[in-house]
Amino acid sequence: MTGTAPVLRADDLVVEYRGRPPLRAVDGVSLAIGPGEVVALVGESGCGKSSLARAVIGIEKRAGGTVLLGEASVPVLGLRRRTPQMTAMQMVFQDPDSSLNPRRRVGEQITDGVRAALARGLAGSDPADWLDRVGLDPETVNRYAYEFSGGQKQRIAIARALAARPRLLVADEPISALDASTQTSVAALMRSLSVEAGAGMLFISHDLSVVRRIADRTLVMYRGRIVESGHTETIWADPIHPYTRALLAAIPIPDGAGNLPVAPLEEDRATWTIELPDALERTAA
């Protein structure tokens, strides 16, 4: 990150779920995202990626830590209505089928985003233009969500989020529910539109090949902690932390040799929780 002030800064974030003993899903994570920067959060299922994302945007209660959007502290979404200032933070969810209201026209739902931008004193926009920009027919503003495919619905959800002209877009596995051919195009679309708008993006995924393509920086998460972080290419080319290595080794290589990734052994797993200060904040080589 260069000298510009981050759009989002989270410090020592903790998320706990009730139980005996309580489950600490996010265990003291700090992160900062600059304007126009795409930060990927990767890790296995259950490592706390989604909890972190939801805590950042304020739909999950935080057991500790602070989140700042610009200068302002991000409140947890309760009964109180979000202030216009906080609508500068938008989210795209994993499941495109439940992201859109089935009883309202998609144009109306994108208009909700436009209104949020207007409420912050920013320029308005035409919902049809947004459909065009996410690669859909602008004539479909009057359609309902069920008339679209999963990938198209996700594009509409992205259009709605971007219509609010966010400073930060949180994407919680936005491509996991899509088929392989759609995944890459939706991910690339999200990157180009958010970079173009100067918005920072926190992109959660377990698809490392997509992450490599779109993320400026990558955070590798294991058991609620960031084990390795920094410049995406550096991590990719030279992973330091054993968990990152294992994660990268788990990607099948289509080289025709027919080598399948080997499942990690128990003693390997034991090494994944170690803390390596060298693996954090890695810079471009």
Binding site: N101, R104, Y146, A164
Partner: protein, 305 residues
Amino acid sequence: MTPRPVITTDELDPTDAKRPRWRRPRVRLGRWSAPLGIAGALVAVVWILVAIFAPIIEPHDPLAQNLAILQPPGQGTLLGTDELGRDVLSRVLSGARVTIPLSLLLVVLSVLIGAVIGAVAGFFGGWVDELMMRITDLVMAFPTVILAMVIAASLGASLLNAVLAALIVSWPSYARLTRGLVLGLRSSNYVISGRLLGFSPLRSLWRDIAPNILGPILVLASLDIGTAILLLSGLSFLGLGAKPPTAEWGSMVADAVQNFDAWWLGVFPGLAILSIVVAFNFVGDALRDALDPKANTLRRGGPTL
């Protein structure tokens, strides 16, 4: 050797909304129930027209005691006369004017009160939810008809008091239904998306939640019209509703009890109650099939509930 057909797990998954094979049985069910629904709707419409035009189509004044008493059907009058010389047909037709609007009013008010209480409880949660649901439980713990009788009796016999008593016992089922539906949708992604875009709780309830829970509430309401008619005429039958000489089906049946030989006194108002309750139930069943949240999910490819 031909290759074995590959069965993927999602073909076996009955919850997968995208498989067309699961659509078929639902639609067929809908077709089966549609004729009954249409017949029910026709009967209901006829009764509503009767209620509107009763003064025009009545052969006699329903209150005038100017005919020969206890005439059997077919002798001068179509459905006979009662012990005071009033025309039974005219009284049955006139009874529609009392029962139908009052039961519709009762259902509309129950839905409004119940839905507001349930929506507030479901959306706000916490102690608001606790308080409202415990009150709901309290009312539901009493047998409906008996509680309505007690309330109607303590308020004094009148049609409006009977409606008020019925209202007090009938809103909780809507409150419960609405609360459950709101609770289910409150944490859905599109509701959260709306909140992140700055929707107030009220706007969220109105724009994102209400349109998606209206179907089940309407179904319950349409099924409940029959129950409302039964409850109101039941209260009148017990002397807690309509007062003489008002022509009301429940009180007509009650009067007939004192005169068992004159079977036409009880049978025709009884048939009126029966036909309209059955008609509204058929309409309700057809609506339930048409608005079924699961069938809906299949047709629209998106979870509405």
